[in-house]
Amino acid sequence: MHLDHKDTFPERYTYSAAAPVRPDGTRRALRIGLGGPVGTGKTATVAALCRALRDELSIAVVTNDIYTREDAEFLLREAVLPPERISAVETGACPHTAIRDDISANLEAVEDLEAAVGAEGNGPLDLVLVESGGDNLTATFSKGLVDAQIFVIDVAGGDDIPRKGGPGVTSADLLVINKTDLAPYVGVDLEGMARDAKAQRGELPVAFTALKAENGVRPVADWVRARLAEWTVGPA
């Protein structure tokens, strides 16, 4: 029996986000979660980020579908990354559980991608994007799974979402307000949304995007580059 352990938090066994260093001592890939309600543009953001960054970074994606492998299959069809860099986690009708309360399947998917890409001889991954299955405004990622999270909402969901708040809107490291191209059609006041978001989030950044437009993902891609620069120089 082994009841007396001095190390209360043996993260080195679990390689959760609490352990930023690989077993060989190098810094592991930055993990960024993308959450937000269904249909706001999470998969579109992931696809656009892959296209914008794949020439400069080694990227992999984990999707968490509510059912089926829709998102993973969309990314495969769009060929944003080779198939061995995309992995789908099944969530048993509870997408928020898989990214917050029981992150074991997602951690396994991330580690398997790191191992698979490493085994191809392409060197280590720089960035892993984890897309949540799309849930309500309260779903957030565990710090044990990701290093930073992006919360994606859209203008079509109504301009009162930033005002209503919720943990995703108020505390995500980046709030993306997508589909600004639709604002005129749904009668949404973008400046009002920006004011409400500022009131909820203080200094935390907000990006307005129109992903259908050329280079529409630019503000998000720039934010990811900045996080990665910080991550790479961060204390090991």
Binding site: T14, I66, Y67, T68, G92, C94, D102
Partner: protein, 224 residues
């Protein structure tokens, strides 16, 4: 021995991946075999006395100190369909991650190193119980209970079944869980003298067949 450790291990919120699995309830609901509390109870009783008993005995044997690699082979031999072998190993790997963080132990490290893709979940759970200072009977209880609480929780989500009715089903089956846990622990005890074949090999062919078919469904809510 800490009895409270058993509550931690048997808690449905123990973060070892169980929430994404229905224990065969999803195909049973789709086929109309589970449609209300009464049919859920029948399903759970059947699963408990077959797959539940086998898994509980494997866990009890691991908790008693039997060689986990031998038990892992015994689990393979008692799991005829590839889909369920794969699920058991995937859940075993997730259980291993949670167990090593919760009750660190060189015995867990050794099994993780020997089976990096995961050993069968009941074997890992039994070893985790041992690391937590629990007895073989405790491990058997945790697995026997899990064999019915998984499908009951899944059915609440799949059928929007009244959660009070689903919990009452689990309460009705308490005496059966007692019985199965004791049978499992007794079988595990006999392994020392009679060898691994003393472990039960009860089977539920319909659970096996539907699990294999379910693994190929293009649209499903649960991973198994």
């Amino acid at each position: 021995m800490s009895r409270a450790a058993l509550l931690v291990l048997a808690d449905g919120r123990f973060p070892a991946g169980g929430h994404a699995h229905s224990g065969g309830a999803e195909p049973a609901v789709a086929a109309g075999r589970i449609k209300d509390a009464a049919t859920l109870e029948r399903f759970c009783r059947g699963r408990l006395h077959t797959a539940g008993l086998v898994a509980a005995a494997l866990a009890a044997a691991a908790a008693a100190g039997c060689d986990p690699l031998l038990l892992d082979d015994a689990a393979d031999a008692r799991t005829p369909v590839p889909a369920l072998r794969q699920v058991a190993r995937r859940l075993g790997r997730q259980m291993m991650r949670a167990a090593r963080a919760t009750w660190p132990d060189p015995a867990l490290d050794a099994l993780a190193a020997a089976r990096p893709r995961g050993a069968h979940q009941p074997v890992v759970l039994g070893l985790a119980a041992r690391s937590a200072g629990l007895a073989p009977l405790d491990a058997a209880y945790a697995v026997a209970y899990e064999s019915i609480s998984g499908p009951a929780t899944a059915t609440v989500r799949l059928l929007s079944l009244d959660p009070f009715d689903a919990t009452a089903v689990l309460a009705h089956l308490a005496a059966d869980v007692d019985l199965v846990a004791r049978q499992a622990a007794a079988a595990a005890e006999r392994v020392a003298t009679e060898g691994i074949d003393a472990l039960p090999a009860a089977s539920a062919p319909l659970l096996d067949i539907t699990a294999q078919a379910h693994a190929a469904w293009p649209v499903r809510l649960f991973a198994s």
